[in-house]
Amino acid sequence: MTTHVVAPRTWPLRFAASDAGAQTASVLVGLVLWQLLGMGVERIPVPSEVLSFFWEELTSGVLFAAFYNTLDGFTIGLAIALVVGIALGIAIGLSDLVRAFCNDIVLVGLAVPGVIWALLAILWYGFSWKAPVAAVALTATPFIAVNVAQGVKATSRDLIRMSRSFGVPMHKRIRHLVLPSVMDYVFAGFRFAVIMGWNAVLLAEWFGGRDGVGYQTRTFYDSNDFTGFVSWVVFFIVFIVLLDRLVLERVARRTFRWRAQPAEGGGH
C-alpha cells in the first residue's frame, strides 16, 4: 500500500515521517489555523486566551461545579435510558407481538433530533432539574433499545438452533451465551447513547437556564463575552472527545473484537 520510502536517517526526520509525527503535525496545524481564525474574526478568541480563561475557571472552581451539575442530570438520564432501553429492547427482541407494536415508535424516537426532545422537555418541566434528565433519557433510550433488540433477536435465533441440536440446558446457555452477547450490544448502543445524550443535556441547559455547562455557555453568549462563550464550547468538546477516546473507544473495541467473527448466516 505504501510507496517505497527510504527510511530517513536522522531521528527528527524519522519522527516527522511516523504516525506519531503525523498526528502531532495535525494538532499543530489545527492550533495554527485556530490562531489565525482568532486573529482574523473578531468574535473568536485565540488559543492562548482560551487557555488562560480555562485556568481562571478551573482555579475558581466554576469549571468543576458546572461539570458536576451537568453530569449529575446526564448520568441520571442515562441510567433511565439504560433501564428502559434494555427492558424495551429485550421485549422487542423476544416477542414478535411487542416488536410489531413498538418498532415504529422506536424508529421515530431514533430519528428525532435531540434538540426537539430538549425543547419539549423544557416546555413540559419548565426550568426544573427534570428537563435535562428527560431530554437525555428520551434521546438515548431508542439507541439502546434498538441495539439490545438486535442483539436479543440474533442471539435467540442462534440459541434456538443450538439448543435444538445439542440439548444443552437453557440456563447454562443463557448465562454463557445470551447475557454476554446482549451486554456487547448494550455497549455498542451505549456509545451512541452517551454522545447523543451529552448533546441533549447541553441543549436542555442552553434553553432551560439552570446551571451546568450548557447554562454557562449560554450566559457568556448572552452577555456577548465571546472569549468565555467559545472557551466553554471548547471545554465541552474536549470533554466529550476525551471521554470518547479514553473510555468509549476501549469499550467499542472490546465489542468489535467479538463482532469480528463473520456471521455466517447465524449460528456455527
Binding site: T3, A25, D96, A100, C102, V115, L119, L202, T217
Partner: protein, 272 residues
Amino acid sequence: MSDVALGSHVGGHRLTVSRRWRRAGLVVAGWVAFLGFWTFASHNLVNPFILPTPATVAEEMADIVTSGELFEHFQWSLMKTLAGFALAVAIGLPIGFLMGRSRWWRAFFHMPVTVAGNIPGITYAVMALVIFGIALEGPILAVALISMPYIAINVAAGLDGIDRGLEKMSHVFRRSGRQIARHVLVPTVIPFVFAGVRLSFALAWKVEAITEVFGSSNGVGYMIRQSYDRFSVAGILAWMFFFVFFILLMERFVLQPAEKRLFRWRPKEATA
C-alpha cells in the same frame, strides 16, 4: 423469512400470507394503541397544554400543509442540507483520497476527522450562530463538517480495497493514468461516497435542524423554534412528525433504490 422456517410447512404459501396480514394487523394495532394511550393521557393525566391530543396535533399538521409552510420551509432545509453535502463531498473526497493512499496522511487526518464526526450537534449550531448569525452559511457549513468524516473515511476504505490487483492489471495492459482513474478509481470510490452520504444523511439532517433552531430565518428548525417561542407543544410535535416522516421517506424511496442501482453489479449474496 425466518418465520416460515420456524413455522410448519403445511399449506406453506397460505401460512406466509396470513402471517404477513397478522403482522400488518399488529403494527396497525400498535399505532392505534399508541394514539389511544396518547389521547387518554392528554385528557386525563396531564393538562392538554403540556400534551395536546393527537387530534390537535393533526389539526396543526393540516394547517401547516395547507398554508404552504410545509413546502416552503422543507425546501429551504433540504436545499441547505444538499448544499452542505456537496461541500462535504468536495472536502471529504480529497481528504479520503489522501488517507487512502498514504499512511502519513491517514495519521494526520485521523484526529480532525474523528473529532469532526463526534462533535455534539449543539457545537456546530452555536458556532454557526456566532460566526454567521442567522445566515444560510451556518447550517450549510454545519452539515458539511458533520458529513465530511463519513465521506472521507468511506473513500479511504474504498481505496484500500479492490484497487491493487486491478491497478496492476491496468499497468500490465498499458492503460494510461486517465484510463485507470476513469475505469478503476472513480467506480471504486463512487459507491463508497454514496455509502457515506447515506450513513450521514439522517445525522446531517438533524444537525441542520439544530443549527436552524439556533439561528436561521427559514427552514424546519426555524419553525420549530417559532413554536417553542410561542409555547406551542402542538407546533413542535407537528413539525417533529413531518421531520421524521421525511427522513423515513427519503430512506425508503430515494436512498435505498439509489443504492440498489449503484450496486447492481454486485453478486447477489445470500442474506443471513
